[in-house]
């Protein structure tokens, strides 16, 4: 028997918790196209009920409810945009804006900020309250910049660090209005046990945790996203490259993708710029004396073909051998083994599986 919930007058069928569902009102609403802002909730870290920006009104319930943690019941009537709801959200967002240094002009995540989106949808043009003094940025780490002035203390980074990648570095420190996200016992990130996996950056809804490599080189709307596979270990994480022209600006894990569900490690997230290195080989080279001279493809390949043929004629095909690359694509290895077997006539073909 299917159950229904009524969101803003629209009847929606859902599965009771414990069956296939276990969905919250927020998830059901989003799947059906209703906009409810969230700042602390993320699909991977789950409901935290901290920011209270996702509140909705439920008939028969006195207080506003946080939709991220609200379990649906048959016949429940939910209103996502009543004046009472919108007023409450406005107060929340205004307080968050007042509680930090949220100037969008120079912010890296301008255009890709969940706080900015919430303010936009709530029609907040100018923050109502006064801005507090700024806190110094933590620029001590290799790849991540932490700007506590932009932190809204939603707790996603803390949940990600402790429950998702389970590196257990980040936590909330201090109390009351001194509360802030800290590394270990409030060490600068670069001196802490943080391994720079960047999970926190990916989960951060605002510009408090930023990939340093991409700073100042592209606005969010200037990049295109290209899905690809990580070039490091055999897990095969799915990456989203954020690319401007031919330049990777930053890398994120693809949320919901197999096998990594958004997670990455320090190499996958930050180890990409080797492709732009000035050290790259750019021309075939042929040995000349103690050094090498540049050659055309035709000259180099003809030399190889001639020499291989000569060796094969003189000593037999098994005097030739090759090692294919287990870093490059399948198709390279397939053609390499085909070259050895079909053209050279030997099975002396291997790869670096033994390292």
């Amino acid at each position: 028997m299917s159950n229904t919930i009524i969101i803003d007058g629209q009847e929606i069928a859902f599965d009771l918790p414990g069956k296939s569902g276990n969905k919250t009102v927020l998830q059901i609403a989003r799947e059906n196209g209703f906009y409810i802002p969230t700042l602390c909730y993320h699909q991977r870290t789950g409901p935290a009920s901290m920011c209270r920006v996702c509140v909705v009104e439920v008939e028969g319930m006195r207080a506003l409810q946080t939709s991220c943690s609200l379990v649906p019941a048959n016949g429940m009537k939910v209103h996502t945009a009543t004046p009472r709801v919108l007023d409450a959200r406005k107060v929340v967002v205004n307080l968050l804006l007042a509680n930090g240094n949220h100037e969008c002009l120079s912010c890296e995540v301008n255009g890709d900020c969940e706080l900015q989106d919430a303010a936009y949808h709530l029609g907040i043009e100018t923050p109502t309250f006064l801005i507090k003094e700024t806190q110094p940025r933590d620029n001590s780490a290799a790849f991540i910049l932490y700007d506590p002035g932009k932190c809204i203390q939603c707790g996603r980074c803390v949940a990600g660090c402790n429950d998702q990648v389970v590196n257990e570095v980040l936590d909330f420190g201090y109390r009351g209005d001194k509360t802030k996200v800290i590394c270990d016992n409030d060490l600068p990130m670069g001196l802490s046990s943080c391994v720079q996996c960047g999970e926190c950056v990916q989960l951060c809804p605002v510009g408090a945790l930023i990939d340093k490599k991409g700073m100042g080189i592209a606005r969010r709307w200037e990049t295109r996203k290209v899905r690809t596979t990580c070039p490091y270990c055999g897990v095969g994480c799915q990456l989203e490259l954020h690319v401007k022209g031919e330049q990777i600006i930053r890398v994120t894990g693809v949320e919901g993708a197999k096998p990594n569900d958004g997670h990455l490690c320090v190499k996958g997230r930050y180890g990409y710029d080797f492709i732009y290195s000035k050290d790259r080989l750019t021309s075939p080279l042929i040995r000349e004396g103690d050094g090498f001279r540049e050659a055309s493809w035709d000259e180099a390949l003809t030399l190889i073909a001639t020499k291989f043929k000569q060796i094969k004629d003189e000593s037999g095909a098994d005097a030739l051998a090759g090692v294919s690359c287990s870093r490059s694509i399948n198709e390279d290895s397939y053609y390499m083994q085909r070259l050895y077997r079909e053209v050279l006539g030997t099975n002396n073909i291997d790869n670096c599986a033994r390292v």
């Binding site: 490091y232 492709i275 080989l281 190889i304 060796i311 287990s326 077997r341 291997d350 390292v355």
Partner: protein, 539 residues
């Protein structure tokens, strides 16, 4: 891997042996840690007390190179106490009695003496494995990089079959592959004994099939014919260079001069090559020995596919032009073939996959580029028929205990020590591996800013040994083996037990491979990177 990373989330038990996922496969370690937080049991066997070992319910700190004895000891308890899955073994496996005869040589007391793991721990592991099922067994190079690597792998296969843990979800024998596409390179036939899809090069039917597919005509009708003789492995190729048994050698994308054991010896082999071609994206220590160097397109500079540890074929996409004249590897092979009289039709990675790989490798018959958007497909995927059983790929292998060869074959395995063990002159064991912040010989990570996280190699030693030798943390020391010597910074850590030195091969000057032993597993020719004897001296 017989099973998938996606199963980690709901696993009940992990048995991790010879795998330091936290550093070598970080994202896999996240899923293990998440499962452990939800209540999964974690058993770790490793010479080092690495981060996951610290989170383990049971940690067996085994001596380097004693895996077979240790695993046989566990299996002894399972058999002695009648705790193994008899129904599974009877229905799905063969050769149990022969294996049992070997295992009976390893009562826990003897296994404990060899491995250094307490008898009670061995029994406790056996009892836990028998009571929490299924369990996922994962391993990495800690098992394979030994002269007894094949035996180590056979032993974990014995164990998982004995427990009935193969062919079930959240179970299996799961080697985490080191390199992004080492699974794929093997799948594609870049191995001395198999065509694409593990079809034997010595099988007349396979030979006929590939000869026809590649337009070579029946044997004897053209100057080109397929050679039925199984080829040689990479260490054998290197060994053939000095005496010119191998006269022409083509290396693609490998920095053998840093990554092979016993660098001095490898460099002698490479320097004696008659004609060496190296194709790479950077000049490396290996290109120094080349006669011709070819510039290759890198990751993100060509379209293609990688296959990960769990057999998942995923797309890799091009976002930029390769620099200068650099070209994709497949183009280079095709152009050499053309200059030797063979024209190949496929002219892009997609054409190669769709028109050749997918047609010739039965496990990939259902995999086409058009189907590889999003999450890719795990082979075997043998059909393009949406009603077919493997149309959506295969999450785990040997379902219901049905093995590719019919029945799961138990093997009786005897323990053998490493080729070189510690002695008076070289009293320490050196074991090697990878660190989180770098990848292999640093050709990529060394040019991506990761030196900021780790800028030089260290020799990891215990506090006890450091105190004994009067070595302070961060002090430069000399580590020497019978093959070489390096000056390297000492790192004192509780991960390493007394008597062990642990190093990686990311940096040239203090590379562990100046020291490692160039001895190999007799079958796979995998080198014994994990064990040799060294001495430590203050400088």
């Amino acid at each position: 891997m017989t099973n998938s990373f996606g199963e980690f989330e709901n696993a009940k038990l992990f048995f991790l042996t010879g795998t330091n996922m936290t550093e070598a496969h970080p994202v896999a370690s996240y899923f293990v840690k998440q499962a452990v937080k939800k209540g999964a049991i974690l058993i770790v066997a490793d010479p080092r007390k690495h981060d996951l070992a610290k989170k383990a319910d049971i940690f067996a700190q085994i001596k380097v190179g004693t895996d077979v004895a240790f695993l046989n000891g566990i299996m002894y308890v399972l058999i002695e106490e009648d705790l193994y899955d008899k129904a599974y073994v009877q229905a799905n496996c063969t050769n149990f009695e022969e294996m049992k005869a070997s295992i009976l040589h390893y009562p826990p007391e003897r296994a404990a003496e060899i491995s250094g793991v307490a008898v009670e721990t061995i029994r406790k592991i056996a009892h836990t494995l028998a009571s929490v099922k299924p369990g996922m067994l994962c391993y990495t190079l800690g098992l394979t990089e030994h002269t007894c690597g094949v035996n180590n792998v056979m032993s974990v296969a014995n164990l998982q079959m004995l427990l009935g843990n193969v062919g079930v979800e959240n179970g299996g024998v799961n080697p985490l592959r080191g390199q992004n596409n080492v699974q794929g390179a093997c799948d594609m036939g870049a191995l001395p004994g198999t065509f694409v899809g593990y079809q034997s090069v010595a099988n007349p039917e396979s030979i006929a099939k590939f000869a026809q597919a590649w337009g070579m005509g029946p044997a004897g009708t053209s100057p080109y014919s397929l050679n039925p003789k199984i080829g040689i492995t990479m260490p054998e190729m290197l060994a053939g260079l000095p005496d010119r048994k191998i006269r022409g050698f083509f290396i693609v994308g490998e920095n053998l001069a840093n990554s092979e054991p016993n660098i001095a010896h490898v460099e002698h082999q490479l320097s004696s090559a008659e004609f060496l071609v190296v194709c790479d994206i950077f000049p490396t220590e290996t290109t120094r020995f080349a006669h011709v160097i070819l510039p290759s397109a890198a990751w993100s500079e060509s379209e293609g596919t990688y296959t990960n540890s769990e057999r998942r074929v995923s797309r890799v996409r091009k976002i930029k032009q390769a620099p200068g004249l650099a070209m994709p590897g497949w183009w280079i092979a095709k152009e050499i073939a053309r200059r030797m009289g063979r024209e190949w039709e496929s002219n892009s990675a997609q054409e190669i996959w769709d028109n050749e790989v997918s047609k010739l490798g039965p496990a990939y018959a259902g995999i086409k580029y058009a189907r590889l958007e999003n999450d890719g497909l795990q082979w075997p995927c043998t059909t393009l028929d949406p009603q077919g059983a493997s149309y959506l790929g295969t999450k785990f292998l040997h379902k219901g205990g049905k093995f590719a060869r019919g029945q799961g074959l138990f093997k009786g395995i005897e323990w053998t020590p490493p080729a070189e063990v510690e002695d008076k002159e070289y009293p320490f064991v050196l074991s090697t591996g990878r660190r989180l912040y770098h990848y292999h010989t640093r050709t990529q990570t060394g040019r991506s800013g990761l030196d900021q996280m780790l800028s030089e190699e260290t020799a990891d030693i215990s506090q006890a040994d450091a105190s004994c030798l009067g070595i302070a943390a961060g002090e430069y020391i000399q580590v020497s083996s019978r093959r070489g010597s390096v000056r390297v910074k000492a790192r004192i850590t509780d991960q390493v037990p007394q008597g062990l030195v642990w190093m990686a091969f990311h940096f040239r000057e203090s590379n562990a491979n100046w020291l490692t032993n160039n001895v190999f597993d007799p079958l796979t020719k995998t080198a014994e990177y994990k064990a040799c004897a060294v001495k430590i001296e203050k400088i």
